[in-house]
Symmetry: C2
Subunit: 149 residues, 2 copies
């Protein structure tokens, strides 16, 4: 059933281990942009032994392979947050608390649709930078308090 995952890994030159499976699934399921530490706890809860060092090593491998991305961290305690390469979405980052939240799907999508593909292509050609992912963060401040909950 997770043959698909195995193929994904293989396609990127990664071996398929129990730990990597678990980490990848946790990361792609969890919509909360977990830190390495949070992933570690998440996986250990449902599964078994897993060392924090392995989480870091694995995430590094995923990032190199393009299966995951580091997000604008810059928040709270300064630990890096990760995300799978899923659909681009818009982040809201609170300047004061460092909290990172996703914008409502529809609005985020509509805003991102306005990014001019042709200009990005021009940029790619002009300076030789291949764009894999567009990350848009709105930095500001929550006035009410819908920060997750």
């Amino acid at each position: 059933m997770s043959d698909k995952l195995q193929q994904t890994f293989a396609g990127h030159g990664l071996r398929c281990t129990k730990q990597r499976r678990a980490i990848f699934q946790a990361l792609s399921t969890c919509r909360c942009h977990p830190t390495a530490d949070e992933l570690h706890r998440l996986v250990k809860e449902q599964d078994a032994d897993l060392s924090l060092a392995t989480v870091y090593n694995t995430l590094e491998a995923f990032c190199c392979a393009g299966l995951a991305y580091k997000l604008a961290c810059c928040g709270g305690n300064g630990s890096t947050r990760y995300d799978t390469g899923g659909e681009d979405h818009l982040h809201l980052r609170c300047r004061k608390t460092g909290k990172l939240t996703d914008a409502p799907d529809d609005l985020g999508k509509r805003i991102l649709e306005h990014l001019p593909k042709e200009l990005i292509d021009e940029l790619q050609e002009r300076i030789g930078f291949e764009v894999n992912k567009v990350q848009v963060d709105l930095v500001g401040e929550f006035k009410k308090n819908p920060c997750q909950s």
Copy 2:
């Protein structure tokens, strides 16, 4: 001559000290998104004593006041990079090296102009998030190598 700076500080409830002046000027002059450590060295070169802890404290104060921003760090050695609240610009972030570069001004500006203000306003109203700054990062990989120089 730097009365202006003093007023800026005062307007945000910050006292104006020699160190803060120096840090702010270095940060706004330097186009390279320095880390706290780089700023520390920068200021010490031209000026005088300055403790690294003060750089951190000061940057934290600036960020709270909205005079500076933490950028998507996530790169290289993992230290946070800072920027003044100047004009929005587009960042290119290399997935492999973590290098952070600015897009050419004209292209960056043209891309950012396409962001739909009305949708961002809608977002502000709908979820009570006040946007101070839009940070767009293109994550990818340099094919040639114009990473700075």
